[in-house]
Symmetry: C2
Subunit: 170 residues, 2 copies
Amino acid sequence: MVGAPLPRDPIADARRNWERHGWSDVAAPMAAITAIMRTQQILLARIEAVLKPFGLTFARYELLALLSFARSGALPMNKASALLQVHPTSVTNAVDRLQEAGLVLRSPHPTDGRTTLIELTSGGRTLAKRATAALNGEVFAQSGFGTEDVDALIRILGDFRRGAGDFTDP
Amino acid sequence: MVGAPLPRDPIADARRNWERHGWSDVAAPMAAITAIMRTQQILLARIEAVLKPFGLTFARYELLALLSFARSGALPMNKASALLQVHPTSVTNAVDRLQEAGLVLRSPHPTDGRTTLIELTSGGRTLAKRATAALNGEVFAQSGFGTEDVDALIRILGDFRRGAGDFTDP
DNA sequence: TATTGTTATACTCTATAACTATA
DNA sequence: TATAGTTATAGAGTATAACAATA
């Protein structure tokens, strides 16, 4: 998927093309956004490679990790959908697969008959811990970002996400 | 897809969870990387929404835009694959669809019988221009990133991509 | 009426492997 | 032998719409 390194940065080239065609005013944001898309692609590939031996995809890992941090150990489907910012059908799909693998189970909500709770099995909890340790050691601990750059990213992208309506936190 | 804003930033919460579980050393990079994933999701949704009326996906638009900047107006398949950093089969697929839509056409390479050249039709060139104008006006011009933040992102993500082996540029 | 979740369906992109044709 | 591209096949996530059950 990632072949030999290119001799030139294709995004810097695209930026120059934008400037040459009279779009100088948006060339820089175009380059920044394109760089985000490409960076995400690189990071996702690393993450999925680490998770593959555990039989997990990133989407399923995120659900597992979310459950492992839930106070009660269980979450309603719609809560998971909201927190992970994914479509309800995506959660249904992910839970189906995790349930087949014996990592989570569905249980009825005690008071609201409409809602389904998802909770980790003990096997799911163990796998979540192991997968998290692997990601921490093989991806996050060697992210390729310097300490100050990590802080800058968190601030810049936090501002962006707030502006995009993700959350209202201060 | 994007429901009501959450009262709290889920990524900041995840970071606190990491710290509470003894992974303080990687909590910040985890948060930065998770923020990149989420930001990409938001941006991709905006881009695809703008491109939809043109009958284009982002992957197909990228190919169209790349061709529109090629000096000769044509590119070999493998060149496109390398520059867009996508799998050869993804290029085959994209070209198939763009060709069905009459936006590009395949032609034989003049000297190397193995390679196929892709080139824009006049309709493809027109659509590329219109789609680029729409993206510039509706996404890049209102990116939600401040000017200094755009510069910071370009520098930080450029360093990252170089480190990841995307290119060898200075 | 509104909400929760599932099902059916469809359409992305992606990836591997096998294959053809050419160098 | 190596390279370029296609085909077949598979799997991933995402989305819409229709539906059932419950509030």
